[in-house]
Symmetry: C2
Subunit: 195 residues, 2 copies
């Protein structure tokens, strides 16, 4: 079985894990910022074209102080119907949501809107590459959880959160790096290969 | 050669065109609205998962009148770095921009930001399905122009607009329908098949 560089087999279940030398240099950087910078790097080297979608808002009032300048004076955040990130890599449709949690023990499912769960399922069922990236900020650990394992958990558990042990067992730990800051496409290569 | 239902060969160059019985019933509907409704229908029948990205804005002031309610009090529209629409169809990454023009003779290239042109090129070069949908509102004609033909025009012409004759020759006329209102995936099927 082919594993991407820098990841090694963790246990008998064919799960892989990125070697985790916990780096403190990025403390204070948000996950969103880390992913955005990684995506910029992927675009620079023409490896992948993955973008964060703008925050969905409902605009209710706009002023036009001059003819070609509009200023939004009132708007509200709305519930997203899809995930935050999507794009193209190796001809594949990539789609994921990124979330941080302060908990050291579990990831609360209320962090993901039902619309988003449904969207991830649609993408997975229709041949897209779908996953979550979850950072446990207090542990300084970031995991890529494939949609398949995530949806399986949702469908078979009544719990309102996913314990860290599930991430340790079913997800891929992402190493901090310099360029890219989080090389999550290394795991996507593995997901594509394993399909 | 296989053509999707309802389209017929137009000329010797293997171009196809959707039969155009100009319908007036949708007059007043914007192209964006027509596409959004079509995409909703495609999702309903589980055919494709294509969404319009939220309008990109830069938020500069937010009020919190109560603890769980935020009101944006000042924000500005920003230049989009990508196209408006993307998603997944038949395992393929789909990406396009939709624009209306009042002109009866040409489509001004200033309607498409340089960033967006570059984005369409990246998507096309990397195996995605990329195109423009352009509506000539005064003519009540809507065309799907594949990225390949669009980029070829940009690279070989010094003109600041694309004449309607280019659309008639190189693009696909999209028929008004009921459900979906604009069946642009019928043309995408053709683009996928022809690749």
């Amino acid at each position: 079985m082919n594993y991407p560089n820098g990841i090694k087999k963790q246990n008998q279940k064919d799960k892989v894990i990125v070697d985790s030398k916990l780096s403190h240099k990025n403390r204070g950087m948000t996950l969103e910022s880390d992913i955005n910078i990684s995506n910029e790097y992927y675009r620079e080297i023409e490896k992948a074209y993955i973008y964060k979608k703008p925050t969905p808002i409902k605009i209710t009032k706009v002023d036009y102080p001059s003819r070609d300048k509009a200023v939004i004076k009132e708007a509200f955040f709305t519930v997203p119907s899809t995930t935050d990130y999507n794009g193209l890599y190796k001809g594949k449709y990539i789609d994921f949501e990124a979330k941080e949690t302060k908990s050291k023990t579990s990831f609360a499912l209320e962090n993901i809107h039902p619309h988003q769960i449904n969207h991830l399922k649609n993408i997975y069922d229709n041949g897209g590459i779908a996953f979550l990236i979850v950072r446990f900020t207090s542990l300084n650990q970031t995991y890529l959880l494939p949609a398949k394992e995530f949806l399986n958990y949702i469908e078979t558990s009544d719990k309102k959160s996913i314990p860290i042990s599930f991430f340790q067992d079913q997800a891929y730990l992402l190493k901090d790096g310099y360029r890219p800051r989080i090389d999550y496409l290394k795991i996507v290569d593995y997901l594509i290969g394993g399909k």
